[in-house]
């Protein structure tokens, strides 16, 4: 009896262990291990994961390519802008088609913008201050016209944020005037180089994409395009790295922990793509409240952060020191901008000056970290130890992104300090210094340092409305110089994106917008 049981168990076990042989005989499709967005509706959400959908399933009028990012005509072939900077006309390419085979018309583009501006969700934020739905029209078959309420120079840079959707498909799935929002969360109404298989889609778990051979850009530049992409997000960092090393996935997210880089590169099957991005790590200070309302106190705090130690020891040099709010590799920075140094003697001097001016530095300061993002915790812990040496107590408060951003709506609820990154949503200083330090944006998380300087406001507003690129660069440069001297925040580094890749992935091309997730350019080596 026992022998029979043992024999049956051994057979079952050997079946379970031997089963992978059958599966491994077939060629594996490309498995992308990066995070998926909560919804596939490109007008409902805008975060780093949603850019993967935007780049692969949809097209926009313009698109950022390569690094440093270049703005290239995409569904549009060109554009003109009136002398007063208010009327923008875009000429549409002919012959581009949606996944259902219908041609993309100027009216479809106008519909897409009207949908975006009516839903008024995240990606609309870049346009709503200057554009209303009725001011987007299609005066000719291949012309789309936008009439802005005030001149807005970053308008073109924000153009790639908007996916053009197919109104003929969406109109069949509208429920309660939702513009097809619920349906599009799990379906595809695009024209991009890949189309979604809605049958196998599981929100945030699995997304299968198949190549769209009729994509308007053609496939001439890629002799062996990838036919099928399996997007399978891996939640845990340790599992993600193991899955790459084992060959379960072909790409991690682009934030591989620096301590894993060597391990991934040692493996003959894998490599790490390192690309300078535009994503600034910043420690915010609530300038509306003591002691941060005093410049010497802020300078004391700026000199007490060990930039070298954090960037080069904890992060092993896989980041680049960044002196101000704009990433180093963006235009509009003063060429000689010097970063703050870690200098505790200087920090003490400024602290003493602040105390002499009556500032109370004895109360414990709170720094909110995003608990699930280890770097924010590490930076706070290191900072806490160094601040103790200048007589300042720092209390670390674990929090989450929604928890913190929800609190930044008013100065009273904004934390003393908090840590986050400002990623590339559109490539223009407006994305960083413009929205972080113009006081008109106070109440948004980007302007959560509650910094007010009328001169900076004037410069940033002039830069936002000027259509003269050289003049804009000068204005941003001047504003940056003033902001950095005032030290409203502590700017630490610009990110080098680290993406673990299987060596069979060829043609990976990084751009700060989308973090290199454009499948159209890639091929798979057997």
């Amino acid at each position: 009896m026992i022998n029979r049981l043992l024999r049956a168990s051994a057979i079952a076990l050997s079946l379970v262990v031997a089963a992978p042989l059958a599966a491994s005989a077939q060629q594996r499709p490309l498995v992308w291990g990066d995070t998926l967005p909560a919804t596939l509706d490109p007008h409902a959400i805008f975060d780093v994961p949603s850019q993967f959908i935007l780049l692969n399933v949809y097209d926009g009028l313009y698109r950022y390519q390569s690094n440093p990012p270049q703005l290239e005509p995409w569904l549009a072939t060109s554009h003109t802008v009136s002398a007063d900077g208010l009327t923008w006309d875009f000429t549409l390419r002919s012959g581009a088609r949606f996944h259902d085979g219908s041609e993309i018309t100027a009216e479809d583009v106008a519909y897409s913008f009207r949908r975006l501006l009516t839903l008024r969700r995240a990606p609309a934020a870049a346009f709503t201050p200057v554009l209303t739905a009725e001011n987007v029209t299609a005066p000719a078959a291949h012309t789309v016209r936008f009439v802005l309420s005030t001149p807005y120079a970053p308008f073109l840079s924000a153009m790639p944020l908007v996916a053009i959707v197919n109104p003929r498909v969406l109109s069949q799935h509208v429920e309660n005037d939702d513009w097809g929002n619920a349906w599009l969360a799990a379906h595809d109404a695009g024209s991009g180089a890949y189309r979604l298989n809605p049958e196998t889609y599981q929100a945030r778990v699995a997304m299968d994409l198949e190549r769209f051979p009729e994509h308007f850009m053609g496939w001439a530049g890629n002799a062996h395009p990838i036919a099928s992409v399996r997007s399978r997000p891996v939640m845990e960092t340790s599992t993600r790295v193991l899955a790459l090393l084992r060959g379960d996935i072909d790409a991690t997210d682009s934030y591989l922990p620096p301590d894993q880089v060597e391990r991934v590169e040692r493996n003959p099957r894998t490599r790490v793509a390192r690309d300078e991005s535009m994503r600034v790590f910043v420690i915010r200070m609530n300038n509306s409240r003591a002691p941060f309302d005093n410049k010497d106190a802020r300078l004391c705090l700026a000199h007490a952060f060990n930039y070298e130690g954090f960037n080069n020891v904890i992060l092993r040099g896989f980041v680049l020191r960044n002196a101000g709010p704009n990433p180093n590799n963006l235009w509009g920075n003063p060429p000689d901008l010097a970063p703050y140094s870690f200098d505790l003697a200087k920090a003490k001097e400024h602290c003493d000056l602040a105390r002499a001016a009556g500032v109370d530095l004895s109360r414990p300061l709170e720094i909110h970290v995003q608990n699930e993002l280890e770097q924010t915790v590490q930076a706070a812990q290191m900072y806490q130890a160094d601040l103790r040496r200048v007589g300042i107590t720092l209390r670390i408060v674990p929090n989450t992104w929604p928890g913190i951003t929800g609190a930044t709506g008013s100065a009273a609820t904004t934390p003393d300090m908090w840590i986050h990154w400002v990623s590339t949503y559109f490539v223009d200083p407006e994305n960083w210094i413009g929205q972080m330090y113009d006081s008109q944006f106070q109440g948004t998380w980007k302007a959560s340092s509650w910094y007010t300087n009328p001169e900076v406001d004037r410069l940033l507003r002039a830069a936002r409305t000027s259509l003269d690129q050289a003049e804009r660069a000068r204005l941003y440069s001047e504003a940056t110089r003033i902001v950095v001297a005032d030290s409203p925040d502590i700017w630490v580094y610009n990110t080098v994106n680290l993406r673990g890749l299987s060596r069979r992935v060829q043609g990976y091309s990084f751009s700060p917008v989308g973090s290199g997730g454009e499948m159209r350019l890639m091929s798979l080596e057997n």
Binding site: A23, D41, R121, R230, M235, T239, D248, P402, G406, G409
Partner: protein, 337 residues
């Protein structure tokens, strides 16, 4: 018996109602503004206020709570703030994965736990008893996420004999969904190869999830059997010449197992909540990972629904346990009258 079951169900309803109200209040008083997250980067306070009004988030908390309770009672769990899709639909996609894993882990823990407990009790203070004691203490003491990673490193990376993550190999895709339980759907699809692959994917997460439960079941079975062994009827049965195995397995175990059955019911709830960490490590697309994603994006509608579903599952299992106890020991139902 029917009356007994109805009474147990009636007792579960107020508890569920309390759960709905309490979780709503908790979810709305903790920091985090879903409207700000929905509005996205660079959204102005006016845009955030607009979204808040559109989703009713600006209404008084009591009013929001009443709307929520009314929705839940009418069977509507609402729509996810982010995807805009019905939360019930998203949960139904995820729930079978968690239930399947929990069920397999529980069966594994029960069979092995009861066997170990029985053997340990029969070898009271002997070497097997000591060994089982070590296993049970270890099973309760080891952190699940640590064990999960260790198992991955050994079985998937070092020996390469079991999958690292997920429910099924990407090369297969998913079978046609009938029940959502892969072990069933693969067989219904006539794909034994996929069934085996799904089974292989289940081994490591199920073992990790089962271990603390196994330890608990072994300890309760052991003490129950030891107590039963002291009873007069055992002495009588021994005197009557019953074999040791027959006596233990048929007479002693049935009397000793009622306490263990209660524990199994409680464990089911513990396993579902314990699945959160294990699902994350093994990339198991269940309710646990869904809850984590909901927390991180402040999707409180999704979070409330998850809590309610887990509460309902827990309540149902508790009723089933009561019924099982009454079936094993009819005196339980009689006492309840």
């Amino acid at each position: 018996m029917l009356l007994y079951i109805l009474r147990r169900i009636a007792l579960a309803l107020p508890a569920l109602f309390g759960l709905v109200v309490l979780t709503f209040i908790l979810s709305r008083v903790v920091p985090g503004d879903p409207a700000a997250t929905l509005a996205g980067d660079a959204a102005t306070p006016a845009q955030i206020a607009d979204i808040r009004a559109r989703y009713g988030l600006d209404r008084p908390l009591l009013e929001q709570a009443l709307v929520h309770v009314r929705q839940v009672v009418s069977g509507d769990l609402g729509n996810s703030l982010f995807s805009g899709r019905p939360v019930s639909l998203e949960i139904m996609q995820r729930l079978p994965a968690t239930l399947e894993l929990t069920f397999v882990a529980l069966v594994f823990a029960t069979i092995l736990g009861v066997a170990l407990g029985l053997v340990a009790a029969l070898d009271h203070n002997g070497p097997i008893d000591h060994l089982v004691r070590i296993v049970s203490v270890g099973g309760l003491a080891i952190a699940s996420f640590w064990l999960a990673i260790m198992l991955q490193l050994q079985f998937s990376m070092e020996w390469n004999i079991l999958p690292l993550r997920g429910r099924i190999d990407v090369i297969y895709g998913m079978p046609h969904r009938v029940t959502g339980f892969l072990l069933i759907d693969t067989l219904l699809a006539g794909r034994p190869d996929m069934f085996l692959d799904a089974l292989r994917h289940m081994v490591l997460p199920a073992i990790t999830l089962a271990l603390p439960g196994l330890a608990t079941i072994a300890r309760f079975t052991r003490s129950g059997v030891l107590e039963a062994l002291q009873k007069d009827y055992v002495l009588y049965a021994r005197a009557a010449g019953y074999g040791r195995f027959r006596l233990a397995a048929i007479y002693v175990l049935r009397n000793a197992i009622t306490v263990t059955v209660t524990q199994i019911g409680l464990l089911f709830g513990a396993l579902i909540s314990g699945a959160v960490a294990i699902e994350a490590v093994f990339d198991w697309p269940g309710l646990g990972t869904y809850a984590v994603q909901a927390i991180l994006s402040a999707d409180y509608k999704a979070l409330l629904a998850v809590t309610l579903v887990v509460g309902v599952v827990y309540a149902v299992v508790n009723v089933l346990v009561d019924v099982a106890q009454a079936l094993i020991d009819p005196r339980v139902a009689q006492r309840a009258r």
